[in-house]
Each structure stands twice: as structure tokens, then as C-alpha cells.
């Protein structure tokens, strides 16, 4: 009977059980298994640098325009060297949400990521590999601010910047000219302007916070202008306490601005708020320059102008919030000559010009990039960043991600709702979350 069973392909229990265990275990314990440090040893490709190597790259740039822009860059690289780049694009929310297991599992050699705490964190955990060789070759074409932003806690370089974009106030020139508004350079002038706009029937500052993160931009700027760049960075890294007067002052000043921000912010996405600016219902919008993606009408787009966040107590307008996106090497890309060669290429003006030729909502960051093709608005944005003494990355990139998403989002939404915030509780939460890391 057993003979017949095995003849007919009935596999004895041992085998099926083993394969089943592997199957079901693989499903549920994927996260855990990935944590046991089973990362494949770094594929050393010292011999492969000369040509014919395939470099794998995981990309979270899933939107059409950035995706095509990256592809154009990699095509240009493939033409120049004999290596090819195999891109594995994942929808960007999924990419970010799964980054822990992705980097611990079997990552691609290189991957798209951000500067800031998010970069330093994975670098310090050994999930990213340094690329000092590439920086030695092309590092001189980056500003000090960019170099600093690409450096991990151990002093090594972990990021090859591709582009950045500034946060600031965007407005319609025609509306401002018609009403005779002028660009405010101090916080008081900003408030005066807002009062005037409100009297003119405009929503002074377009605002949206349904998704929770856009309000962080207002917080970052108020904190940097009030307490300085270094304090803001230390607060983000929880080297400063949240329960102190300096932080309370930030919220007190924000409270003065709150009546001028769109009262319907909590139900709106940033795309919807951008429409109020496009339709001239609001006077200005504090957001990243990606806001211009929403203005598909060429005349509206040409009418958009930019000014940096006005000065408050300290450091004038020295600091600019300009998140940097770039490429990092995973643990699998460590010591891979082909991947390192790609990093070198990405740090060249050719690569950045190619990228900008398709995605013009982001700014090239490398010295020697062809700035003649930049639009007037982008030139202004680029000049603002170039003139900045320090560059912040946005709260959710400068701080612990859990602090940003679990603590700041609800806290800021509650603040936007009723103008109150419990800084003692923020500190209590920060203490617990940073201790968890």
C-alpha cells in the first residue's frame, strides 16, 4: 500500500511537511527571519567593473516623470560604460514602508533614498554601505552643505545626491501685482500681509494637513527661524528636550499665524490646497517646490513665484529647508566596483542634466550642471539653496521616523484644530520612542 502511494507520487509526510514549513514559515516569519542577519554576503564584483556587469537598483521613484528621468540617467550610463542598470521600481509608499525588511532581506545593490536621519540611521545599523571612493572622485563638485548631508555618523559618505527642492512660500505674481502686495522679509511683515489678504477676501496661506506631514514644514521653519538651525537639528535628534520654553515659543508664534492658514486644512490634501492657489483663492502657499507639479496650465505655472520664509529672531534667513534625494548603496552593493562606478557617474553634471531634462520640478545639485535650462522660478529656488548657510531636510527626514509619524502628525493635527499642544507629553513620547531605537 505504501509502495503504491509513493509510486503514485504521494510524498511521505517528512518531505511535504518540510516544504510546507518552509512555505508557511516564509509567509509569516518573513519579517523575523529577515531580522536574524541572514543578509547574503556582499557580492564582490572587483573583476566585473570592466564591463558587462548588471547593477541592480531598487527605486521608489514610481511616479511617471521621475521614473522616466531616472531611466534616462541609467540609459546614459549604460551608453557610457558597458555596465547596465536593472531598475526595480516599487510604488513609493510601499518602498518607504517596507524599507526595513527590504534592506535586511535581499536588497538591490543600490536604492533611492533621502539624506538626513533616515540615511544616518540605516548607515549606523550597517544596512547601507559607504561610497567614499565615489566621493573622492566627484565630491569636489558638491557644496559643503550637500557633503555634510551625505555623511553618516561615522564620517563616511553614504549618499550620492541626485536633486533637491526648497520649501518656501509660493504665490501668483499677477494677484500680488494687482493688489500691490510686497514680499515680506520679517515675520511681522508676513502677519501684516496676511491681515491685508484676509481683508481682501483671500485665504492668506493655503494649507493642507489631511496627510499629516505638510504641517511639519511650518513647524520646521518657525523653529529654525526662532531658535536657530542647530537647535532644530538637536531637537529632531532628541538631544534637546521638547518640554522647554523654546519649543513652546514656536507654537505660540504659530498660533499667531494659524488664523491666516486655511481653516479647512485637516480635510484637504496638499494637491487640493494647491488648487486654491492656482485659482487665486489663496494668497500664498508654504510648501516644497513640488507644488508646481499641480499647475498644469502653462500660464498659471509661469505666474508662480517664490520667496523664502521670512526672518524671525535669529540667523535671518540663513537656513533653508531643502530635502535631498539621492542614491545609496545597500549592504549587498558593498565593495561592488560596478555599483561604485555608477555612483561616480551619478555625481557628474551629465547625469544631473539628463535627469533635469525630464523632471524639471527638482533642482540639480552638482556644480557644473547646466543651469541655463532652469526656469526663472527654479533658478530662484536654486539660488536660495546655494545661498543657504545650512540646509535642513524636513522633520520626517531629520527626526526618528516613529517620532514624525506617530507623535508629530497627531500632535500637529490637534494643534491645527484647536491651537493647543502639550509639550510635556511630546517630551514623554519622544523619550520612549528614541529609547526604543
Amino acid at each position: 500500500m505504501t509502495d503504491r502511494l509513493s509510486e503514485t507520487g504521494f510524498v511521505p509526510s517528512q518531505l511535504s511537511r518540510r516544504s510546507l514549513f518552509a512555505l508557511s514559515g516564509g509567509v509569516t516569519l518573513a519579517g523575523l527571519a529577515a531580522c536574524t542577519g541572514t543578509t547574503a554576503p556582499a557580492a564582490s564584483g572587483s573583476a566585473a567593473a570592466q564591463g558587462g556587469q548588471t547593477i541592480t537598483l531598487g527605486s521608489g521613484a514610481s511616479d511617471d516623470v521621475p521614473k522616466r528621468a531616472y531611466q534616462a540617467v541609467f540609459d546614459a550610463y549604460a551608453k557610457k560604460s558597458s555596465n547596465t542598470v536593472k531598475v526595480n521600481t516599487v510604488p513609493h509608499n510601499d518602498f518607504q514602508n517596507n524599507i526595513n525588511s527590504y534592506l535586511q532581506g535581499s536588497p538591490d545593490m543600490a536604492f533611492t533614498w533621502f539624506a538626513g536621519y533616515r540615511m544616518r540611521y540605516y548607515a549606523s545599523k550597517g544596512l547601507a554601505s559607504p561610497m567614499d571612493d565615489a566621493w573622492a572622485a566627484v565630491g569636489s563638485s558638491f557644496s559643503d552643505g550637500l557633503a555634510k548631508a551625505s555623511t553618516g555618523d561615522d564620517g563616511k559618505k553614504y549618499l550620492m545626491p541626485m536633486y533637491n527642492y526648497p520649501w518656501g512660500f509660493f504665490f501668483r505674481k499677477s494677484v500680488w501685482a494687482a493688489k500691490g502686495y510686497t514680499v515680506p522679509t520679517t515675520f511681522d511683515a508676513l502677519k501684516t500681509l496676511c491681515t491685508k489678504m484676509k481683508a481682501d477676501g483671500l485665504i492668506p496661506i493655503a494649507f493642507a494637513d489631511k496627510d499629516g506631514w505638510p504641517a511639519m514644514g511650518t513647524f520646521d521653519y518657525l523653529d529654525m527661524r526662532l531658535n536657530g538651525y542647530q537647535f532644530h537639528m538637536d531637537l529632531c535628534a532628541h538631544k534637546e528636550s521638547w518640554d522647554q520654553k523654546k519649543v513652546k515659543d514656536v507654537f505660540d508664534n504659530w498660533k499667531a499665524l494659524l488664523p491666516f492658514q486655511d481653516p479647512n486644512a485637516l480635510g484637504a490634501t496638499w494637491q487640493e490646497a494647491a488648487q486654491t492657489l492656482g485659482k487665486s483663492k489663496s494668497g500664498m502657499y508654504l510648501l516644497g517646490s513640488f507644488v508646481t507639479q499641480q499647475f498644469t496650465d502653462a500660464t498659471v505655472l509661469a505666474d508662480i513665484d517664490f520667496f523664502p520664509f521670512p526672518a524671525m529672531a535669529t540667523e535671518g534667513m540663513d537656513a533653508v529647508e531643502a530635502p535631498i534625494d539621492g542614491i545609496m548603496l545597500s549592504s549587498k552593493g558593498a565593495g561592488n566596483a560596478g555599483a561604485m562606478d555608477l555612483m561616480k557617474f551619478l555625481g557628474t553634471p551629465v547625469a544631473e542634466d539628463t535627469y533635469y531634462s525630464i523632471d524639471s520640478s527638482n533642482l540639480p545639485v552638482v556644480k557644473g550642471a547646466d543651469l541655463s535650462k532652469l526656469t526663472v522660478l527654479n533658478k530662484k529656488c536654486a539660488d536660495t539653496i546655494a545661498g543657504a548657510k545650512s540646509i535642513s531636510q524636513f522633520f520626517d527626514r531629520d527626526a526618528l521616523p516613529a517620532m514624525a509619524s506617530n507623535v508629530m502628525i497627531p500632535a500637529l493635527q490637534a494643534f491645527v484644530k484647536d491651537g493647543t499642544v502639550d509639550t510635556a507629553n511630546l517630551e514623554a513620547q519622544a523619550k520612549s520612542l528614541y529609547a526604543n531605537q
Partner: protein, 312 residues
């Protein structure tokens, strides 16, 4: 006699031995697989994650290396109860959710079932229509309700004539109404589910009961509440348990609206916020999950004891 009986008995014994031998050989494998595989699946998919969650709720872990796990005692629980602002609103919202489902959504499902159980024309069509929400995928539900609730483009505000005015109600953004807006969406789904259960229940009620009630001169409502409804006791218990469990595990609708923030906090959504994505705090997420598990065990235990109790 003996000379005949003995060999026969021997033959029977031999046959019996052979038969039992054959059965053991095949059954060991078959039974082993049939009992072992479900047990294994049960263990791997349910027991192991549950035990791990309980263990992790007493730990601090960043989710990376196993060596990073550190004991935390009860601090995760203390943090949730004392310092985590969304927790108590989430508990309150879960209770509101339960009351709303129990007092509005479930009775509505029962009403639909009773109405559609009559011999009305197109009953099947209506049944399908009311059941559709149960089958729709989550992103689709998100789009449908966005179309209903959007402030300026939404159906409700436009019908009320307040779209594009300052009086327009911000159904998802205003934290004093968004929970109710979400509950309406939840009811839309829950009622269809309950309806199907009760339709099956009503079909199972012996028609002679109704006839007897009619003969005794009971009115339609008396017949339903005093005869038919009590006769559906097994279904009623299932529905009560399903309603409680739906309220406890409610999460998906608020998650697609705004990820469960700003007035839409639910314990289930907090678990996901803390366990999934970059904002991962495994210890706290696990502790929240364990709290939810403990609460869920109450209705589950009652249900199981009822089910097995009635079998005895």
C-alpha cells in the same frame, strides 16, 4: 467442531492482523498529514505570532537585529496608558463604533433581511445590491466615499447646496463629524453582511411556527418578535459575536480616510501605525495588539462556550 473452528479463527485472526497492519501503514501517513498540517498551519499562523507578540510587548526592539531586543518590563503598557495621546480617544471611538453597529447597523441589516424575505419582486436583485459593499475592495470603497463626502466636489454637500461655500461641511477633516461619516460607511458594509446572515436564518425558521402564530391571532409584529426572532437564536448569537468582533477589529475604513488620525483613532489603526512602515515601534505596537487581543477574548470565549455548551 474444533478442527473446523480453529483454522477459521486463525484465518480471521490473520485477516484481522493483516487488515489492521495495512490500515496502520497508510493511516499513519494520512492521519499524520491530515492532523499535522492543520496543526502546523495553526501553530505557524496563529499561535507562534501570538506568543511572539505577547513576548515583544514586553521588549524594546527597533525591528532590525535580534540582538537589538531589550527587555522593557511594563514600560510599553505604561506608555500607552499614560503618555500616548491617541490611545484613550481610540478606546472611546471603538466603544462608539460598537454601540453604533449594535444599535444601528445590525438592526438595519435585520430590517433589510426581513423586508427582502417577503415575496417581493426583484428580491434577489436587492439582495445582491445590498451585499455588494461586503465584496468591494478597500481602495474602491475609499473612492466611493470620497465621492460622497468631498467638501466641494462631494455628492452630499452638493445635494445640500453648501458645496463651494464657507458652510460646506468638511466630512473627513472636521473631527467632530468625521467619526460619524466613517460609521455611515461602516454601516453600509456591515448591514449587507448581517442581512445575508439573517436571510439564511429566516429561511431556516419552520413555516409552521408562523402559521401557528397566525392561527392564534398574533399580529405581524408579534409573530416576528415573539416567534420568529427567538426561533433564530443560533443566528442571533453569531450576529452578536460578529458585531462585537467587527467593532473591535474596525480599522480599514478609517485607515483609508486618513490613516486613523484626527478624530478617527481606533485601536486597530494604532496597532498598524506602530507596527507597519517606517514609524515602526514594535514594542508599543505589540502591546496595543495584546490589549486588543485580551478584550477580544471575552466575546470569543462566550461564543465558544455557547457553541460547545449547546452541543453537550
Amino acid at each position: 467442531m474444533t478442527t473446523i473452528a480453529a483454522p477459521r479463527a486463525r484465518v480471521q485472526r490473520a485477516r484481522g492482523r493483516r487488515r489492521s497492519h495495512v490500515l496502520t501503514a497508510s493511516d499513519k501517513v494520512t492521519l499524520g498529514v491530515m492532523a499535522g498540517v492543520p496543526t502546523l498551519i495553526q501553530f505557524v499562523l496563529i499561535w507562534a505570532p501570538m506568543v511572539l507578540s505577547i513576548l515583544l510587548s514586553f521588549m524594546r526592539w527597533n525591528g532590525l537585529r535580534l540582538s537589538d531586543i531589550k527587555s522593557a518590563g511594563l514600560t510599553n503598557y505604561q506608555f500607552i496608558v499614560k503618555d500616548y495621546p491617541p490611545f484613550w480617544p481610540a478606546v472611546a471611538h471603538n466603544i462608539i463604533w460598537l454601540l453604533f453597529l449594535a444599535c444601528v447597523a445590525t438592526p438595519l441589516g435585520l430590517l433589510l433581511a426581513v423586508l427582502l424575505d417577503q415575496q417581493i419582486r426583484g428580491s434577489r436583485l436587492y439582495q445582491s445590491i445590498f451585499f455588494v459593499p461586503v465584496m468591494l475592495s478597500l481602495p474602491l470603497i475609499g473612492i466611493i466615499w470620497q465621492l460622497m463626502y468631498a467638501r466641494n466636489e462631494g455628492f452630499i454637500n452638493n445635494v445640500a447646496g453648501i458645496a463651494n461655500t464657507s458652510a460646506a461641511i468638511d466630512w473627513f477633516g472636521n473631527s467632530s463629524v468625521n467619526l460619524w461619516a466613517a460609521l455611515v460607511a461602516a454601516t453600509w458594509r456591515h448591514a449587507g453582511y448581517i442581512m445575508v446572515l439573517y436571510l439564511a436564518g429566516l429561511k431556516g425558521v419552520d413555516p409552521s411556527l408562523r402559521e401557528a402564530a397566525a392561527v392564534d391571532g398574533a399580529s405581524a409584529s408579534q409573530t416576528f418578535f415573539r416567534v420568529v426572532f427567538p426561533a433564530m437564536k443560533p443566528i442571533n448569537i453569531v450576529v452578536v459575536v460578529i458585531t462585537i468582533i467587527e467593532a473591535l477589529r474596525a480599522f480599514d475604513i478609517v485607515y483609508i480616510i486618513n490613516r486613523g488620525t484626527n478624530g478617527l483613532e481606533l485601536v486597530g489603526a494604532l496597532v498598524v501605525q506602530n507596527l507597519v512602515g517606517e514609524g515602526q515601534v514594535i514594542g508599543i505596537g505589540s502591546a496595543l495588539a495584546v490589549m486588543l487581543l485580551v478584550v477580544s477574548l471575552v466575546p470569543i470565549t462566550i461564543y465558544l462556550s455557547r457553541v460547545f455548551g449547546s452541543e453537550d
